[in-house]
């Protein structure tokens, strides 16, 4: 693909994301006009470039309630989609994603531990993300070391180890649930279902660095991911330090997953479906796949979150239900349409 086309396409999807974000901020129990949304954003983010000519209520709705929420779903959507795409590329397996490798479960154990022990009250708002990230990282290293034979880590073993450890950790989460106090149990269950309902600017501030950092690292590895499609031996022949590359990709993914899970709970399907959609539309070259997955993942999650808010007003549907309800049928549809498994990858 020509460079011009590349930037044109990314620009197109990026504009789509901006448009979706604006739409998502507009929609809600109080509908705010799109021009007003843009005006408030410009006023706030440029330090008063536009004169303030609106009342306080829409500003509070836009800036304090909806914008952080949309921003958070953008960040989490980007992170889940990119780490899914990177894991599928690394393992050359269309089923790979942070969830399958046990990372999400590890992050969930960390976060549940923080909630059940009430660490938020003692250590402040960073307790959950730090423990979630620690859980994800520890998990991926345990999985990695279980799968390792000598100096090499065969992909099949890694996926199997990931599934086994993930199931074990899920049992730990269940155990934490039954041993939690009534109040904590409610928090854990709500959090596990996945939701952006409690999103605040604080959440955005906590996760923006690890998420964007991890995403950047993953996007820097596109050349390596491309070469890895030809197999690890070829990658070594071409001079790649495959085990180092693997470790970097796994740690960056754990960082992104831990951060995403800590603010939004377990949201399935994004890491699986979005990269496959992008792959079918734009091919499997990672220099396109990763950035495009990031943008599309953000769009997808913002849309799902908006639906979660408005589907059964005034109450909310957990976003995990929406992503699964949209994602699973769509995925089945794609599978049926593309029966040829060879072309699939």
């Amino acid at each position: 693909m020509k460079h011009g086309n590349y930037f044109l396409m990314m620009g197109f999807i990026g504009t789509g994301l901006l448009f979706t974000a604006c739409l998502a901020v507009m929609i809600g129990p109080v509908v705010i006009k799109p021009l007003l949304v843009v005006k408030i954003w410009v006023h706030q983010f440029t330090g008063g470039l536009i004169e303030k000519e609106w009342s306080r209520i829409p500003e509070v709705i836009v800036m304090d309630i909806r914008t952080p929420r949309v921003l958070l779903s953008i960040l989490v959507g980007m992170g889940l989609a990119v780490s899914g795409a990177a894991m599928q590329g690394l393992f050359r397996n269309p089923m790979a994603e942070p969830y399958v490798l046990g990372m999400s479960s590890g992050a969930a154990v960390g976060a549940c531990l923080a909630i059940v022990l009430g660490m938020g009250r003692v250590f402040g708002p960073f307790a959950i993300p730090i423990l979630a990230f620690t859980g994800a990282t520890v998990t991926i290293f345990v999985v990695y070391n279980i799968a390792r034979t000598g100096n090499r880590v065969p992909t099949e073993t890694l996926l199997l180890a990931g599934i086994a450890v993930g199931l074990f950790l899920y049992a730990v989460v269940s155990f934490l649930k039954i041993s939690a106090s009534m109040e904590n149990l409610q928090n854990v269950v709500l959090w596990l279902m996945g939701s952006f309902a409690m999103a605040t600017w604080m959440d955005v501030k906590i996760v923006i660095l690890p998420l964007l950092g991890g995403i950047c690292v993953l996007c820097f590895m596109v050349r390596e991911l491309d070469i890895l499609q030809f197999g690890e031996e070829t990658a070594i022949h071409l001079g790649m330090n495959v085990e180092t590359v693997k470790r970097i990709l796994l740690i960056a993914s754990a960082l992104v997953t831990g951060a995403a899970v800590s603010v939004s709970g377990i949201i399935g399907f994004v890491g699986l479906i979005v990269p496959h959609m992008v792959r079918m539309a734009m091919g499997s070259r990672h220099r396109i796949l990763l950035p495009a997955s990031a943008l599309c993942g953000a769009i997808f999650l913002v849309c799902c979150d908006t639906l979660a808010r408005v589907v059964s007003q005034p109450s909310e549907v957990p976003i995990g239900i929406i992503t699964a309800a949209i994602g699973a049928p769509y995925f089945v549809y794609l599978l049926k349409r593309r029966k040829n498994a060879v072309n699939w990858w």
Partner: protein, 271 residues
Amino acid sequence: MLKLLNISASYQDIPILENIYLNISSKLFYGIIGPNGAGKTTLLKIMTGIKGPDAGEVLLQGKKINRFAKKEVAKIMAVVPQSSFVPPLFTVEDVVSMGRYPFQQLRFSDSDADRRCVDEAMEKTGINGLRHRRINELSGGQRQEVIIARALAQTPQILMLDEPTANLDIKHQMKILHLTSALVRNEGMAAVMVIHDLNLAARFCDRLILLHDKKILTMGTPETVLTPAHLKTAYGVETSVGENPLTRSLEVTVLDKKGAVHESVKQCVNY
């Protein structure tokens, strides 16, 4: 250029190679031959540094190969693996450009030197016309040429090929082997190839290495290696070795148990 000193190797405690000494020099085309399970591919893996030996040393330009950074090895030695899996949706140009990976510090763009090497590699392998095609649309022979072009883009001094003609039709077999021997003659490269077909090996290789029972049974020019006695020891079959009047290279014919040649069959094939 590449030296193996007293190499022994095994897989899961089963010895595959024992006490191998080998010296690969530039401007020569080497063929590794021998029966199935003799350790040909293992020998190639040890030479390329993919597999470490149990004992002995692999010296690349006088220095232990495991002391090199992987990228440095890739600048000296390129490998054409045995029918590698080809992921779809990459163009020929994408794939050949991957050969520049060991030279690339910048992540997102190719330098002028990179582009020149990629163009040259495609020129030499004659795949310029395929540049924008997707590799999964190509035939097996064309894919093999693309993989060789990727290896050439590494501007190597040693080219390693693992059964490059397996699964190819006769036209593409000839094309690949002519191309490799031209590279050896014109560019001064060393080429090492694992190959099953003894007649092709005799015709194109300058030196043959005959493996048998974990050891090098014999090595040297095709004339010294391909004798009925050596082939009897290595493969356990009776053979007749003669000169092909058209190619002026050795031709090995396998005899049946009684020692009788199926002359009529052979002649039919020749005609």
